[in-house]
Subunit: 408 residues, 2 copies
């Protein structure tokens, strides 16, 4: 038996079924007209933002990293709740613009920005988080050509990292950002070249559950930003401190102690180095804002036994849930939180393997999991599906197409 | 320094550039109008089929597993070259039908076929590779309802496996197929229920480079099929022996010895068990037919150094090449065969990391690889990109969109 991960709080049971936003899973599927279906909960999104606002010092803004969930309805819902948006491509810029996000609220990071992407961003007035000398030169040249000063911050590759993070984005040689020691020269040359100087972006890692690690990284980020700002000599209009706040996916994962992070950050902010005294501050969160607000629902298509092992074969799979299948950024597969949505809260009476419909042994949703007895037609729920699910999976694989998505 | 995998034969150099189908990489990109670009070579596809026809006994047909590369132009090119098509979804059925493939040449495997998929396949006259008792019942009921006898083969979960295969599809409990000991009863009940009996499908694994392993598996498949056919008592119109032929991706990989496989198979076929004397035989290949015929071309957007390490940042990445990035079905990342396409054959003079444009450390194309010096604007080629590339990658991730694809 392999345990499943912890189901996020905030979900309820109605009539023996998982309910999201006050509606039963089967009702939501009926509304969508089909499975598989991603359901994202407005109330969960709101609750998470409220927790953050309560825990963090008021001076620290919250940016939404659109890559985590670029569904237009989600972006639109976030618009009045967050202070800014971080994008990673001109595709994401177009999504934000279509939703009506003011480009002045948007910053654009990414190590391989094409010229046409730089141009779209500069023309719109988006802040570029500049990743290299070469990108800086290209941005200035494009700005000259189109007659608009590019708004530029520098993304710093710090020499420290976010300890215990799922994805390390700093520490040593990296394709992201500019090595800290090269930042002052680059900043001065960009400013001299006509850029509107926007400050610094220091992203140290993601998906950390340790408050201590985040507190340490944030302290290091502030210190580094202050040193760099002094060396640059033009102030730091804005400091994007990165993100890194993780969510529990797996058995044994403990939620991040947000109150401790917020308390430590408030203390830091109350004693900011002089160089940053006038700086706007923000953190950048994607997964932490939307991950636990999403549930992936798929239907049991077959129930079969092979050599005494029970398989629930669903119409879902890794083409929508690559990370949950264990094939994206993980070495050892562990079970995401999951449940039989149509028998929610019922006693677990058997051990089953929940698999997807793809013809590959990689397509697993829950291995050797204890579940109530389910039959063909039952709905399976995979939780923590709000971030890097629908948009970070190989949708075209085997021709089953995309899942439906709805915000409730 | 980490070596890159072996570049497949059949590619040439024209004017210092990689050429595919007689055209330089830069010419192909100009034709496509953009990078990233998948280029698939007709002559490589033709050459591979010719090798197979020469090596395999004439009695053994070749099916193309559409999932490996579902580009309509590729399916259309394969139509006159292969004997049948294997599909994994009604989406793939629609692709084949749009190209004009006779449904009588198509068989459909997949552990989670939905009712609407079964109906589309039965209505079209496609052979279902039935994966469970439940699916068999559903197929008969749908056949009754639409007044058409379903054409049914049974996919067998054998008790043996293809040794050394990248993906094991048999051996022990599996979500795929019907345990061998349950096959005779199911077959008889399907036949009694009005199905048109089409025989057996026994798939033991994929991506094996050992001729011995394939020879052994094929022998076991024939023996098992003969036993089952005797027990069923209705002959075996067709035996799909599965695939499993691998291609070299990584340093040290040796190509499959096709001649040995063909010789052994010819011997087996010359001495078939009586139960299979009248059976049509086929193998089912995807990756082996198209994998080495494809090249992924992307452009260097930035060249940067971080702590003395050179990064070539491209406009490509794992959103098109998930497997090459090391994030799909592999535990230890190794380098796919890759090269600077616009300096093809030039001497390697430096060690570089070739990365994609996505803002994640997972997005790597070649680590610590020896390459000729490349600049912004150069093209990078990743080989072995013909199978499970464009269609098996998270295209929507970070909003950069799909790559272009062309058959030349």
């Amino acid at each position: 038996m392999k345990p499943v991960g912890p189901i996020p709080s905030g979900y309820e049971t109605i009539g023996g079924e998982l309910a999201i936003g006050g509606k039963r899973a089967s009702e939501l599927v009926a509304e969508a007209g089909r499975t598989p279906l991603f359901v994202y909960s407005r109330s969960q999104l709101d609750a998470r933002i409220a927790q953050l606002r309560a825990a963090l010092p008021a001076r620290v803004g919250i940016n939404y990293a659109v890559k985590a969930n670029p569904l237009p309805a989600v972006i639109a819902h976030m618009a009045p709740l967050v202070d800014g948006f971080d994008i990673a491509s001109s595709g994401e810029l177009a999504l934000c613009q279509a939703v009506g996000i003011d480009p002045a609220r948007i910053s654009f990071a990414g190590p391989g920005k094409r010229d046409d992407e730089l141009e779209a961003a500069i023309a719109a007035g988006v802040t570029l988080n500049c990743e290299s000398e070469g990108e800086g030169r290209r941005a200035l040249a494009i700005g000259d050509r189109i007659g608009k000063a590019p708004r530029i911050a520098i993304r710093v590759n710090p020499s420290f990292e976010l300890k215990g993070s799922g994805m390390k984005m700093g520490g040593g040689a990296k394709p992201f950002g500019v090595d800290a020691d090269k930042v002052p020269d680059l900043a001065r040359s960009l400013i001299a070249g006509g850029a509107e100087w926007r400050g610094l972006h220091i992203f140290t890692g993601s998906q950390a559950l340790s408050a201590d690690a985040i507190i340490e990284a944030q302290g290091n980020v502030i210190d580094l930003a202050a040193q760099l700002t002094e060396a640059i000599g033009h102030g730091c209009p804005k400091l994007n401190m990165g993100g890194g706040f993780g969510i529990p996916y797996f058995p044994g994962d403990e939620p991040l102690d947000l109150v401790r992070v917020g308390t430590a950050l408030a203390d830091r902010v109350a004693h900011l180095p002089d160089a940053l005294a006038q700086s706007a501050l923000c953190i950048e969160l994607g997964r932490y804002l939307v991950g636990e607000a999403g549930v992936y629902l798929c239907r049991v298509i077959d129930r079969k036994e092979s050599h005494g092992v029970v398989y629930l074969v669903t119409d879902g799979g890794l083409h929508h849930q690559l990370a949950a299948s264990g094939n994206f950024g993980t070495v050892v597969r562990r079970n995401y939180p999951s449940a039989i949505a149509t028998r929610y809260g019922a006693e677990a009476t058997e051990e089953v393997n929940i698999v997807g419909c793809l013809c590959t042994p990689l397509d697993r949703l829950a291995d050797n999991a204890a579940m109530p007895h389910a039959e063909v037609g039952d709905l399976v729920a995979v939780f923590c599906a709000g971030a890097y699910g629908a948009s970070a999976s190989p949708t075209a694989f085997l021709g089953h197409g995309a899942a439906a998505e709805m915000l409730v």
